[in-house]
Symmetry: C2
Subunit: 358 residues, 2 copies
């Protein structure tokens, strides 16, 4: 028994709200630095020095204050602390939403940050794709002033940073520019995907392209066209359509493609989500994959292996990209001289959604 697509993206059902219990508990108050100071019989300045390990405090005082801090469970308020010091040891990862792509990056970043002395703060603007372009600028403005020491921005379209604030872009809008970036070899990956379909005998190959404002989407389409050209196969322009990078957007595009009288025998989807969407649409209208249609995706998010049939796709080393971007950010902050553009390889992952034509 394999898990069908319905289970891959769990439906968040609207459940009945049965009001039955009123929740109301008495809580202790938040303890602030002044509480520590009063209890320890010193000034807040002294507590601050102890907290931050500054010189000029008697050993006995240090110990007493630390004891009180421990007893009271004091923890510095991040907002107040950063407002003043502009240093928090917190690194941000800014995403539009938490979906399979960004959460894979998060896993890699999380592993990389362990032991670095930094903590990780992932911030989602809450806007889905395109819902509000410029989310990255707004999120950055909101946090960069004080809360975080640097940021990794995932799939930004607008890039603009503040003085002295370090930013690394993952899979950015533009190709490598002045901004430090981490991405994978989208062009080569697309060639890989297309060549694979060609090697299976496919000639009528469709392409659902991603967000046109994303460099990675453009490179994937370019790779597709290059591979087709190299093979001497003409691209039927009616088979190349924008689908976006999300489930919903791609569904309509996939439906258009499959409704064509001379529909493609294979589709190279711009990413796994749109490929999964294509699988969904194909099933709905009774086209068997891979028997009647081959589908290949891009990304290799975990979900790509969970669908039926398991998706053949191009792997981007997402977790590693997350780790590399965080490492790059840390190095940048530390002033380490290093190459600020990292491009990682892609590779073909053959599963079961493609088969030879015929």
């Amino acid at each position: 028994m394999s898990i069908g697509i319905d289970n891959v993206f769990e439906t968040v059902a609207t459940r009945p709200r049965t009001p039955s219990i009123i929740v109301g508990v008495a809580f202790p108050q938040r303890v602030k630095m002044s509480d520590v100071a009063r209890t320890a019989g010193v000034s807040v300045a002294t507590v601050s020095k102890v907290v931050n390990g500054r010189y000029g405090v008697a050993q006995a005082t240090v110990e007493r204050v630390q004891q009180v801090i421990h007893d009271l469970g004091y923890e510095a308020d991040l907002g107040a602390q950063s407002l003043r010091s502009h240093r928090t040891n917190v690194l941000g990862i800014l995403v539009a939403e938490f979906e399979p792509f960004s959460t894979e990056l998060l896993k890699g970043a999380s592993r990389e940050v362990a032991g670095s002395g930094y903590q990780l703060l992932a911030y989602s603007s809450g806007d889905g794709e395109g819902a509000a372009i410029g989310w990255e600028r707004r999120s950055l403005a909101r946090l960069s002033g004080t809360l975080i020491d640097g940021a990794v921005i995932v799939t930004p379209t607008v890039v603009e940073t503040k003085h002295g604030f370090h930013v690394v872009a993952v899979d950015p809008h533009t190709g490598p520019s002045g901004l430090p970036t981490v991405d994978s070899d989208n062009f080569a990956g697309a060639v890989l995907a297309t060549n694979y379909l060609l090697s299976l005998g496919h000639r009528r190959i469709g392409h659902i392209s991603g967000r046109p404002d994303l460099e990675s989407a453009r490179l994937r389409e370019a790779g597709f066209r290059q591979a087709m050209a190299d093979a001497g196969v003409a691209v039927d322009e009616r088979l190349v359509r924008v689908g976006g990078f999300r489930i919903e957007g791609a569904a309509g595009t996939a439906a258009e493609l499959l409704a064509l009288p001379d529909r493609p025998t294979a589709i190279f989807a711009g990413n796994d989500l749109s490929a999964i969407s294509t699988l969904d649409v194909a099933r709905a209208i009774g086209i068997a994959v891979p028997d009647e249609l081959s589908v290949i995706g891009f990304d290799n998010v975990p979900e790509s292996a969970l669908v039926d049939p398991p998706l053949t796709t191009i792997r981007q080393p997402l977790q590693r990209m997350g780790a590399e971007s965080l490492r790059l950010l840390i190095d940048l902050i530390a002033g380490v001289e290093r190459d600020a553009h990292i491009r990682l390889p892609t590779e073909l992952v053959v599963r079961a959604s493609c088969r030879p034509i015929g």
Copy 2:
């Protein structure tokens, strides 16, 4: 070709650091409220009123200020704003680290938060499991004062909150207490898993239990024992061992179990990560799964389907749990009366890591 375990948890290789480019770009300064005020020719107080939609500002002034805000790209600093107002429209999800379990919750929460008017801030203490107990308390203290209006805490062991601050615990240390909680039916799920192994004819069944301080781990072990007892099968205590909930911790335990002279024919691992670890160990010492050993996990994280062989497991509706916990938190903040304990069902997901004995 399927993806082996080595690819599931991507190795973050230590790459050569080839210093080649120094990055240094000139950035514009952060624009603050006083900049807007000066440009618009009003006071910061007036700008604040406009930003927060307060009454008492002339229409013409409102428009002029909004224009300036737009032109300058002003965005309120989260730290400063919250320090003063104690209201941010940001909800926190506190986790020890970003691993498959918490990131699934994140996906569900992210979907639920869309359109709610809230933004999501996921905070990782950076400590791995057990590295520093009390991470939840410290993270909470750090953020709850100002930055977030409420929090979902994932797998907390220590629960303690501040006055007037709303917290929802997912998969908490203790059973349902005064604190609002979201979990799944761990006991029933464990019975399901054990019965499945029993139905396959297994009698020497081992159990790698999770963090003993976690209620869910205890319930899974209890369910295991209950199912065994109900079937009239004695539990060999040497086959029940603590492994923790992470890859590393479980590996040693799995190795011990499999090195036993009369080793188990089946293992019910406390969660998918320890099950995957068991698969790994089995392969390393040449025990074939499922031919010589059946393994069943718990959670159904996406990674469970990616390993070889694909893991049979007990599904927790993780994304839904994330969504429910966020909904609960939002309702709590809004003062909605409702049941503050949500328990979701578990179900068996049969893949390929178990087979009948003999």
